[in-house]
Symmetry: C2
DNA sequence: TTGACAGGCAAGTGGTCGCTTGCCTGTCAT
DNA sequence: ATGACAGGCAAGCGACCACTTGCCTGTCAA
């Protein structure tokens, strides 16, 4: 629970979620390119990789391996617990 | 925006929000007592005070002074931006 | 098969965060 | 007015976090 908020606390990770929302199933390098060009974030490959590990650990991102590629998919269902806990009436 | 998540990232702060949701308008000392007894958190007065400052800075808590008392009120409206940004369909 | 490519692992570092400590300000009752 | 009470301010400290750096593993094409 608290891990979800810790994961969301970082701006780069929220930008990654934005990117995956716009185009899900991206690889690490695709995300690196699009983060630097569209979001203006100069994040290195290792940095983005570690961010993806955090997001995957809390269930906000799921992955699928295919050969030497690893695709990343957005899953916003962990955010639903926030709505449930504090009765956000939409 | 990111400040809201940073504020929510701490477990003690989320417990404070839970407490204020159950009984809004509490003072600092009331919150300290109820956090230790009901939530089992051994947080000092200064710690809780600093947490309240953070929550108030991001708009999750509003305050009202009355004499030497300061009452704290919950406001979950900043959380609504989360629902809007990532289309959580409730 | 060998080089390029996509990604992973792990140690080290600077900065931020949560908390404590100590002291101070303002308010109320006696 | 003077002591107790509710809260505020600010410096210091330990722990955690994001990031870098360097090297390694696995996969595919030429």
């Amino acid at each position: 629970m608290g891990d979800v908020f810790k994961a969301m606390a970082d701006g780069t990770r929220r930008a990654i979620l934005d990117e995956l929302q716009e185009r899900t199933g991206q690889t690490l390098f695709e995300l690196c390119v699009r983060l630097t060009t569209k979001h203006g974030l100069g994040s290195s490959r290792q940095a983005v990789s570690q961010h993806l590990d955090v997001l995957e650990a809390v269930g906000l991102v799921t992955t699928r391996r295919e050969g030497r590629y690893k695709f990343h998919y957005l899953d916003t269902s962990p955010l639903r617990t926030i709505v449930e806990r504090w009765h956000i009436d939409q």
